[in-house]
């Protein structure tokens, strides 16, 4: 090519570049104008899910944990009588509550007319009307974990008791159970238990608390603390296994207790402790991430992480018969839907229809998913939840008695 023929082309190009240059200046100057508006609180519309169902179970609440520091704990509600699902119902029903529900939901329960949500990193238990989700008040309990109710009182486990020196020299906080008057929402008493207590269960006149010791991996707790309700004093420690998490009592007074294991050589497991015989009556050799007791069926899901291989083991969806004390169903999902579930996280079973709810926490930072399976293990529906959907409670008559 000869340079002269290039010259007009170059000039044209330069002229265009000049124009482009001006355009960029204008564009950014325009950005100046349209800057920030107030952050709107978005309330999703109700999602029509399926045909209405009329039983004594009116619906269920699902507490979404949400990631730490996100302050995005939220409550979803499913109304069986309209067949509609409501995301962010707490937000919708509580105009003007500053900073909303809080950071990391850890447990939810209904007692009397009230709905109670344990918000771990907000150091409080939120108390709401069970039908409207309208806030009634809060109970400040630092690092609170799980809740149960008994004769006018709520019992809440907390990691944040007085600091003590563990025998290997490290410092750790002793856990406690707070006794809360459900009428006045005041903490009336505290009872020290083991290190980092998680779920608790009430059988007869005694509270059974699963101690984890999770802050001290070198020295996990391995006991269940027993509190006498009348004196509200710890009366006994029952050795079960290390790093305990859940404890659920069946109708024969047998406690179904889960151990997280140590993530290395000891896997997670389920133990059955008979409160009448006062001994461990079964070890199930069943990995557990979460579980739900319905009648004689203990539904167990797991997606266990092993530090030995640094991988997740295959997820499991099993049913244990608490009378026979063995796994009777190794795959309660029968239609292959488990392939779509990334991180099975929460579980619940409708006490009337026996429909099984399983939640998927996915990558823990984006909204999870709720799957509903019929008793035959086939998917009925699935929908979008809040972040890390985890804890259920059914609303209706006599549905919380197990």
């Amino acid at each position: 090519m000869n340079p002269k023929s290039q010259e007009p082309a170059a000039k044209r190009l330069i002229a265009r570049l000049r124009l482009a240059h001006c355009c960029v200046w204008c564009m950014v100057l325009l950005l100046l104008a349209g800057c920030r508006n107030d952050e709107p609180l978005y309330i999703p519309d109700a999602v029509p899910v399926t045909m209405p169902e009329y039983t004594s179970v009116k619906g269920f609440y699902l507490l979404n944990e949400a990631n730490m520091n996100s302050n995005k704990a939220s409550i979803d509600f499913y109304n069986y009588e309209t067949g509609k699902y409501y995301n962010y119902i707490y937000r919708a029903q509580n105009y003007g509550v500053v900073m909303e529900l809080g950071d990391v939901g850890n447990d939810i329960g209904i007692y009397g007319s009230k709905l109670w949500a344990v918000i771990n990193c907000s150091n409080k238990v939120e108390v709401m009307d069970k039908n409207t989700v309208v806030r009634l008040g809060q109970v400040d309990i630092p690092n609170c974990r799980y809740i149960k109710f008994h004769e006018g009182y709520a019992y809440v486990t907390s990691y944040a008791g007085p600091v003590a020196t563990v025998f290997d020299g490290t410092q750790s906080q002793i856990g406690y159970v707070a006794k809360v008057d459900t009428a006045t929402l005041q903490v009336v008493d505290r009872c020290l238990v083991g290190y980092q207590p998680d779920e608790l269960e009430i059988v007869g006149n005694r509270i059974f608390v699963a101690n984890s010791g999770g802050y001290n991996p070198n020295n996990y707790e391995n006991t269940v603390s027993v509190i006498d309700i009348s004196t509200f004093k710890e009366v006994e420690r029952i050795p079960i296994a290390i790093n305990l998490q859940y404890v659920k009592a069946d109708r024969r007074g047998v406690l179904w207790i889960s151990s997280r294991g140590d993530y290395y050589t000891a896997g997670s497991n389920i133990y059955a402790y008979d409160t009448r015989k006062q001994r461990v009556v079964a070890k199930l050799d069943c990995p557990v991430g979460n579980m739900w007791l319905d009648g004689d069926s203990l539904y167990v899901i797991s997606s266990e992480f092993s530090k030995v291989s640094d991988t997740y083991r295959t997820a499991t969806y099993q049913i244990i018969n608490t009378r026979e004390m063995r796994v009777v169903n190794e795959h309660f999902i029968t239609d292959g839907t488990e392939q779509a579930i990334v991180q099975p996280y929460g579980i619940a079973v409708n006490p009337i229809t026996k429909d099984i709810m399983v939640t998927d926490a996915k990558n823990y930072v984006t909204p999870g998913r709720l799957y509903c399976f019929g008793p035959d293990g086939r998917r009925k529906w699935d929908l979008l939840t809040g972040d890390i959907p985890a804890h259920f409670v059914f609303l209706g008559e006599n549905v919380n008695e197990q």
């Binding site: 978005y42 302050n71 105009y95 150091n123 640094d310 984006t366």
Partner: protein, 682 residues
């Protein structure tokens, strides 16, 4: 029409902002100054195929920036992750590849952090920094150490090089800054000419800030009615920091060398997230960073040049959580690094050069963690690079061969159980091309391709109970095409114009992400599960005007468009899913503007940052939406002389419109704030 448009843009500019002296010239002068001292071996004006984005000299001085992090916000393609306040963590994410892919070089040698891979740029004060340069891909100069080839993007911080006026042997500078957040920031610098070729520089600085500021959170419903509105004080953001630095610089015709010592000691509060029922935190952090480094370059002959770098660094970190409602933590970490490097450049033909660099690096991490594994890492880097110039065409290709050997021991109850050794070796290439089609027009078309990885950090791999020793390296692959046009004139209204634009496609594979290990957010671990694809456009322009009455006006504009999508889980593609969602905190549109004007001793500066709408997770649904934000900063400075003393007073108003915003969800940023600076040189 075109002319009118141009005119309109200029008028708007004059209205909007201030005006300045031609900072471009100043910065090129200082660059040439260095080149004179260093390595004007070739015939080229600069050795790089693709030049960097730079902020230096006067332009850097008048920006309302306290730390390097503040200055870097003005570059295109960059997102700053800022947790708020003077002492809050500030890391840089270039072209959405993640802050761990960023290499930060201090006077030519990389600042390492084998523990967590992140360099907190908020810790580097601009007090002694002369220029900040940002390179995408790598600095496309072949005569450099192997580590310069080893990051997906690099920031080069160049400290002040002593310069003496004729007949002067000493320069002294005393600076005092004060302002909002109870800021007290005195600094002093002494430069001394030891001999015609050797000079000394000593510099020290102290920073105190209470870090307290008011913030306001306000939410409305979608119909605009108020949901709630609250104002609170951000607490536990205090900072006490001391920095001391010394350097000896030597230069002769064929040799240039320097030796430096750097020490930084700080204590700060970690303000933490603002969540329901928790308005203040108690966590604290102590840092002590020490390094000493030396660099030597020598031109042996017209054909052969050599360079050597050495460094020793020791970093101490203590993290304390005294909050009894949470896990009590009081951990201490010590890191050691030894680094040696050699680079050798051979000029095969006048327009064909080749370079061989070999670096060896040793890292060790010690900690008070229970069951800690005391990891050691040996890294051997070999880079081969070649550059070829033919008429307007410049080409460069490099290959980096990385060998990493990690050793650690697993311990149970204090006794060593087993020794482990992990070995890894990888070859990664890079190609850079630029072409100037017409010699008489300063128009360059450029392109590059680069593939590089980042090693999992010691925390990713070995942090007790959290680390995952099976992690694979995280890969970044970059494709870039762009052009730059410059035009200069000695007379007329417009003195200089520059326009550059780049389009790029990046992919991140095997991204390392933290996730909980089971039910309850009880324990976390690291997994190679992320996949990200980034398509973006960076546009940058600069305009310098000569206005009547000796007013010089200079403006820089940057605009970035990015589509950074999460490809991690293809199954998650329904409404509210993460698949193909824009990744967390990356805006589609962002931009910045700096306008400054200089008239005699007076300089006015206006700077503006815009970050468009974003989502705080890759599920791009309304509940995760984040509003755009923008900040306007103004500063005015006046230079004066009292005999031999040259003084300069600067007043700044930052975030002029008192914008209340978060960069990271629940980490509120400061509203309007002020700063005064008084500087004396003699």
């Amino acid at each position: 029409m075109r002319r009118r448009l141009t005119l309109w843009a200029f008028i708007v500019l004059c209205v909007v902002g201030g005006l300045a002296q031609d900072a471009d010239t100043a910065h090129i002068d200082s660059m040439h100054f260095e080149l004179r001292h260093v390595t004007v071996y070739g015939q080229r004006p600069y050795a790089e195929v693709i030049p960097a984005q730079r902020l230096g000299g006067k332009q850097l001085e008048v920006l309302s920036s306290h730390s390097v992090a503040d200055a870097i916000r003005y570059f295109s393609g960059v997102q700053l992750k800022d947790y708020g306040g003077v002492g809050g963590l500030k890391t840089v994410d270039i072209r959405s590849m993640g802050s761990n892919h960023m290499g930060v070089f201090y006077d030519g040698i990389q600042l390492g952090n084998a523990q967590n891979g992140q360099v907190d740029l908020g810790k580097f004060s601009l007090d002694n920094i002369e220029e900040v340069a940002l390179y995408n891909g790598q600095k496309s100069d072949i005569f450099q150490s192997a580590r310069d080839f080893g990051s997906a993007g690099s920031i080069y911080l160049r400290t002040r090089y002593p310069k003496f006026a004729t007949g002067k042997r000493d320069n002294v500078n005393v600076t005092m800054r004060t302002g909002s957040f109870c800021l007290a920031n005195p600094s002093v610098r002494w430069e001394h000419k030891l001999s015609p070729n050797v000079s000394l520089s000593l510099n020290s600085e102290y920073t105190y800030a209470s870090g307290q500021y008011h913030f306001r959170y306000r939410r409305v419903f979608s119909d605009g009615t108020l949901a709630w509105d609250t104002t609170a004080v951000r607490k536990n953001g205090d900072l006490h920091a001391f920095r001391a630095e010394g350097g000896v610089f030597g230069a002769s015709n064929d040799t240039r060398w320097n030796a430096k010592v750097y020490y930084y000691d700080s204590e700060r509060g970690i303000p933490g997230a603002i969540v329901n029922n928790v308005w203040k935190r108690a966590q604290r952090q102590w840092d002590r960073n020490f390094f000493t480094q030396g660099s030597w370059q020598h031109r042996v002959s017209d054909r052969y040049s050599t360079m050597a770098n050495v460094k020793y660094a020791r970093d101490y970190l203590r993290y304390l959580n005294p909050d009894t409602t949470l896990l009590l933590v009081d951990n201490e970490f010590w890191q050691d690094e030894i680094y040696v490097s050699t680079a050798n450049k051979l000029t095969i033909l006048p327009d064909w050069e080749a370079n061989l660099s070999v670096d060896y690096q040793w890292n060790y991490l010690n900690a008070t963690l229970v069951n800690f594994v005391y990891p050691t890492r040996h890294t051997l880097l070999t880079a081969v690079a070649t550059a070829y110039t033919w008429r307007g065409l410049k080409m460069q290709a490099s290959g980096l061969y990385t060998m990493v050997n990690d050793r650690h021991s697993s311990r149970q109850a204090g006794t060593t159980v087993q020794h482990h050794s992990n070995h890894l070796h990888r070859l990664t290439p890079a190609v850079f091309v630029s072409w100037q089609p017409w010699q008489q027009h300063d128009l360059n078309v450029r392109a590059f391709y680069k593939r590089i990885f980042r090693m999992p950090t010691f925390n990713d791999l070995y942090y007790t109970d959290i680390g995952n020793a099976n992690l694979r390296p995280e890969y970044a692959t970059q494709y870039n095409i762009g052009a730059q046009w410059q035009w200069k004139s000695e007379r007329g209204l417009v003195s200089a114009v520059r326009l550059s634009a780049d389009a790029y496609y990046n992919r991140i594979d095997d991204k390392i992400i933290a996730i909980p290990t089971g039910s309850g957010q009880y324990r976390w671990t690291m997994m190679n599960i992320g996949q990200v694809r980034i398509r973006g456009i960076d546009v940058s322009t600069r305009l310098s005007l000569r206005l009547p009455a000796g007013v010089a006006l200079d403006g820089t504009l940057n605009y970035t468009y990015q589509r950074a999508q999460d490809y991690s889980n293809p199954e998650d593609d329904h409404y509210g899913g993460s698949y193909k969602g824009q990744i967390a905190y990356i805006p589609w549109h962002s931009g910045s503007a700096i306008v400054n004007a200089a008239w005699r001793q007076l300089t006015l500066n206006y700077s503006f940052i815009y970050v468009g709408e974003r989502y705080h997770t890759s599920a791009n649904i309304p509940v995760n939406h984040e509003q755009p934000w923008c900040t306007h900063d103004l500063s005015a400075s006046y230079a004066f002389s009292w005999g031999a003393v040259n003084g300069k007073a600067t007043a700044e108003v930052n975030n002029l419109l008192n914008q209340q915003y978060d960069v990271i969800l629940n980490f509120p940023m400061p509203g309007r704030n002020y700063r005064l600076t008084l500087k004396f040189d003699f």
